[in-house]
């Protein structure tokens, strides 16, 4: 019976992550900005220190997002966000599928990248805020948001970070 425990937990956590993804877009206003937890599998195929770039490959798909401080929700300027995915131009682990960008003064970032294609059963992207490659002093967070539909051409992701 004990051997079933991790399975159950994995399922529940998996479901929680899946259904929690859209909620990340609208952080609860009542209790301020709650920290965004790292998602299961978020760090898979991550490439530490991937180069800053204006565009990944030929582009055509728009990844957008915001980076805020937990609690008061103050936008974080110059936060380095890396993103990668399985796209029309390459697999997740390919170096050319990765790129990083910095947030502007409003804590906003965007990246033109190739169209995300379902891989390993879901159309999804990966994003990272890695404390090792950023001087803003927040804790590392890895996200694995799922697209509402494989035909979507944009994906929006919000980070709420905790000071390290």
């Amino acid at each position: 019976m004990t051997s079933l425990k991790p399975n159950r937990r994995a399922l529940i956590a998996g479901a929680a992550v899946t259904f929690a993804a859209p909620a990340l877009i609208r952080p609860a206003r009542a209790e301020g900005f709650a920290p965004t937890p790292t998602m299961r599998g978020g760090a898979n195929n991550y490439r530490p220190g991937a180069a800053l770039t204006d565009r990944i490959g030929g582009g055509g798909f728009l990844m957008t997002g915001s980076v805020r401080r937990a609690g008061d929700g103050a936008p974080i300027d110059g936060a380095r966000i890396q993103m990668w995915a399985h796209t029309t131009e390459g697999h997740e682990r390919d170096p050319e599928s990765h790129g990083a960008t910095l947030t502007n003064a409003d804590g906003y970032f965007e990246m033109d990248m190739p169209q995300i294609v379902p891989a390993f059963g879901q159309p999804h992207g990966h994003l990272a805020y890695d404390a090792e490659f950023d001087d803003n002093g927040f804790e590392t967070v890895f996200l694995r948001p799922i697209m509402g539909s494989a035909s979507d051409t944009t994906l929006h992701v919000d980070f709420v970070l905790v000071p390290a």
Binding site: P6, N7, A10, L11, A13, G14, A15, V17, T18, M39, R40, G41, G42, A43, N44, N45, H86, T87, T88, E89, H91, E92, R93, V117, P118, A119, F120, G121, Q122, P123, R144, A150
Partner: protein
């Protein structure tokens, strides 16, 4: 004669149509050969699961019992090979995702169902291989092997249905439904459970 031909034609169509439709998936253009191969190994494994229970009880016309069982063993071996190619190919494509799945910490529930189906399939095969050496009584053997097969089909079908991959939706649903129906029909007809329910009364 016509009925026999229809049965074989239906079985062939249930296996060939979903595989052929998957071969037209636009996603294939964005996948490396090893990833494509691992996907098709999974589709073929799903299709073989439809034939397995029918072969086990000699339900296929023109294939009498001893031969049917022999084919059942070979198809069982092919099923295991399919699962190994499926998991191995995915591992090469994205090692961390497969490690997460095998450790039951994957973010995707269907990975969990797939891994459970893999282990119950292996257990069903191991039981078949060790049956004589361990001198498992026929009734226990039949209940255990059938139960493992039922779980494998249920979890394997759940895995396939939840995956957004190269399979076309309706052919996947049809193959899944036929596989579940064949498995349940055989499991209930077998009276494998008769001894169990009699004892529990």
């Amino acid at each position: 004669m016509i009925r026999a031909a229809l049965t074989w034609a239906l079985l062939a169509a249930a296996i060939v149509v979903p595989t052929a439709l998957a071969a037209t998936s636009p996603y294939l253009a964005y996948r490396e050969p090893i990833y494509i191969a691992s996907g098709f190994a999974g589709i073929v494994a799903l299709a073989l699961m439809l034939a397995q229970p029918l072969l086990a009880v000699g339900k296929l016309p023109g294939l009498p019992m001893p031969a049917s069982r022999r084919v059942h063993r070979w198809v069982g071996a092919a099923l295991i090979a399919g699962v190994l190619v499926h998991v191995g190919g995915l591992w090469i494509t994205s090692p961390p995702d497969v490690i997460d799945a095998l450790l039951f910490v994957s973010p995707t529930p269907f990975s969990l169902w797939g891994v459970i189906a893999m282990w119950t399939l292996f257990a069903a095969a191991a039981l078949a291989a060790l049956r004589k050496r361990l001198r498992i009584p026929p009734r226990i053997w039949r209940i255990a092997h059938t139960a493992l097969a039922v779980v494998t089909v249920a979890e394997g079908v759940a895995h396939a249905l939840l995956v957004e991959g190269t399979m076309e939706w309706w052919s996947k649903v049809a193959l899944s439904a036929l596989t579940v129906i064949a498995m349940l029909k055989v499991a209930l007809d077998l009276r494998a459970w008769a001894g169990l329910t009699a004892r529990s009364r």
